[in-house]
């Protein structure tokens, strides 16, 4: 039940990330002039890389949560409360990191985009 809930949460966050990606890596706005063809290639590569990294984050986060739950279950089996606590903290940490990755980073990137300066010469 927990894994179904976590997967649904990750999916909804991923939808938001995809929308953020479209805004972040769009080709409209100031172009690079003579560097525009190269920039378009680089931006298209960045879009693909973003998708790959998002997928990897989901996979690694899911694995990390499974490992933490396994550790916690093992700790409970032998009566180790510290292990169980560490496992719970680990799961919470993973969820926090994923939320930071999928919610905070696109917002930070939009902030950086809005701060882009004109050439000072």
């Amino acid at each position: 039940m927990f894994f179904a809930f976590a997967t649904n949460v990750f999916q909804s966050i991923m939808v938001r990330t995809v929308v953020a990606t479209a805004v972040l890596f769009d080709s409209t706005g100031p172009s690079g002039g003579i560097f525009a063809p190269i920039l378009d290639q680089i931006l298209s590569l960045c879009r693909d890389l973003w998708g790959v990294l998002v997928g990897l984050v989901i996979v690694v986060a899911t694995l990390a949560m499974i490992i933490s739950v396994l550790r916690g279950a093992g700790g409970m089996m032998i009566g180790g409360s510290k292990e169980t606590t560490v496992a719970v903290v680990g799961v919470v940490g993973v969820v926090l990191l994923v939320v930071i990755a999928f919610v905070a980073i696109p917002q930070l990137a939009n902030l950086m985009k809005s701060l882009t300066p004109a050439a000072p010469f």
């Binding site: 002039g33 973003w50 990390a64 950086m112 882009t116």
Partner: protein, 161 residues
Amino acid sequence: MNEALQIIQNVLRQAWVALTIFIVSVGALAMLAQVLRTLGASTMGARMWVYESIASIAAILTLVLVAFLAVPPVMKAVSASVPSSAGCGPISELGMLASGLIAAIVGVRILLSFARTIGGAALGGTAEISRALAEAVEALFGMLLAGVVIPLVSMFIGVCH
């Protein structure tokens, strides 16, 4: 000479715009890559990697903010100190060309050093703020030195009376 200066400055302005777009894109990718590294490291129990990754995320954000907020005003202030004319005589046109280009080349060079550091972090390395800032300071110092040297050279050549 003025037309040549305008053409070269336009190319360098386009390079500046391209580099800013590159920095934003790669900065976001770099932060996501470091988050992935943090996840993997915390799963393995590698605490040093976790600290390094978190420090890299902060470093990437700092570098981008410095590049976008601090570099342009510093460039404007320093380029105002570079003499626009090398003095008098036939060398003055060359001096104007040089002084117009110095600020542009140094600005692009500074942004390139920041972009290189952020790009390294996007590939999974650590973002070293100190190296990027040292390159930026080195470029600015070179610009100031060139601004001092140009009038001295023109006086030494003896075209000013």
